[in-house]
Symmetry: C2
Subunit: 290 residues, 2 copies
């Protein structure tokens, strides 16, 4: 039996999968992004595993019979990969790869292809033959252009510039003030200072709403983000992936803002990343045995 | 006797001042920014105080005879002000205001006026009559446009976009790779992921150097930052401050990039922020007695 775990900037999802019975249990816990804290990552993996075991009617000690596949942000950086694989994990065996790789395996149900993830963060990945292409995904606030956190950050920046008298008035400012139940710039800062990317990402829906209502500032932000995502897609197309999908909470609302050539190549995702992680675990486990 | 403490994004400076003898001891410790951690802020205040006492040839328990003036970022936000004043401090008495206020008092040696701080962060402040005008200073990565951390973030963003093939080649990318002894985008991310504003601010000199060498990308970043600082200055001029100064590690290298009308009004700072904090403590202490 396999457990696939998909760590993300706001949630960690676990799925227990057996080759005979398919999915037999799932669990969801808090964020699991090694770039933003190892102990929280391990806690969320542990918690989502326990919930999945419970859901499957298994006992907590049964984690020892599961072969785990983990898809985690940042593990293409050697330091973070080492941090994760040195973990005293509760599984029979554990295989670690990037969240992009497991998402891609899932989206194309084990096949090759390309994916762009736009949720709390953003990044692109393609796997074709021997080629593994990673693009973007440098994390908040350094990269992740076009992501939920990026949209939220840009919108908060613009609202603060407006409230300080440096940028034009727009409905976006009012919506952001309402979102935080704040009355002025100070109130926004109080809600955002020192906060994680997922808090910023909660603003993304508001930004997209305002853009759809033709708010100039929101439209400019969304267009800039979407233009980057379109460029990201075209870079992935250069390695000729047989299939291309978009994943994450913003994939759907962002799609209409992408360039037409990108929209034309978009295919639906066939399975979620956590299921991709079980395919990955199974593949690795079998390769190790042979 | 008074102790003035200036907390900042990278350093905390303390100065012991007596009305008869002037400055009798100074101490410098690590960062003290309530927005980025209270315990670190208190530690840095404590440490800089101990070093200043030592420097003055006093014993550590002598903190109990000092009246303290603290200039700290973020204390114009009620929550953070409360956090600081509830501290079980080691002083005879403690008065807390923003780092902008004490910097302004220092720059104009007790008089009214306006200041812009451009160091790790950026912000503007003017004190004229009953008016206290606070502008910007919303903290990294939300605000602080034109600051050292902002210049560093923008430069790292552009370098990563270039390394991913999304932005033009420029010498800035090479300099940033050299700065971190990195070989690729992943190396830069490894050095910056989860890091504080002061780590980003260390890139600011490199950005300014490249801009002075006519690097297009660096010039665009520096011009955008300087344009904001010029606008910030003009907003401050609206309350007719009798004097205007710029403070912080970037005040000097940024000055040539500011608009001419702003440069024309620039006066030198007369005393450092930590001395401003002692003036503030003295003022408050005397007002409290009368």
């Amino acid at each position: 039996m396999f457990i696939g775990i998909d760590g993300g900037g706001s949630k960690c999802r676990a799925t227990i999968y057996s080759s005979e019975d398919g999915v037999i249990g799932t669990g969801v816990a808090g964020r699991a992004n090694p770039l933003h804290g190892l102990s929280q990552t391990f806690e969320s993996i542990q918690m989502s595993t326990e919930l999945a075991l419970k859901d499957a009617g298994m006992s907590l000690s049964d984690s020892k019979v599961l072969v785990a596949g983990l898809g985690l942000a940042g593990v293409n950086i050697p330091k973070f990969y080492q941090d994760i694989v040195s973990w005293d994990h509760p599984f029979a065996d554990m295989f670690v790869t990037t969240d992009l790789h497991t998402a891609c395996i899932g989206a194309h149900r084990g096949g090759e292809g390309a994916v762009i993830i736009t949720g709390t963060g953003s990044c692109g990945y393609a796997h074709v033959g021997d080629k593994h292409l990673y693009l973007g995904g440098h994390g908040f606030a350094l990269g992740d252009k076009g992501s939920g956190a990026w949209l939220g950050l840009k919108a908060a920046e613009q609202a603060l510039l407006h409230l300080d008298g440096f940028a034009e008035h727009t409905i976006l400012t009012e919506r952001i003030l309402n979102h935080f139940k704040a009355h002025n710039a100070m109130g926004i800062v109080e809600c955002l200072a020192g906060q994680t990317s997922s808090v910023y990402a909660k603003l993304a829906r508001t930004v997209l709403e305002c853009a759809n209502e033709q708010d100039h500032v929101a439209k400019k932000i969304v267009k800039e983000g979407a233009a980057y995502i379109s460029e990201l897609a075209r870079k992935l197309f250069e390695v000729n992936p047989p299939r291309f999908s978009m994943i994450g909470g913003l994939a759907e609302p962002l799609a209409p803002w992408l360039d037409k050539d990108v929209i034309a190549k978009l295919s639906p995702t066939l399975a979620p990343p956590e299921l991709g992680a079980t395919y990955f675990a199974r593949q690795k486990f079998r390769n190790n045995k042979t």
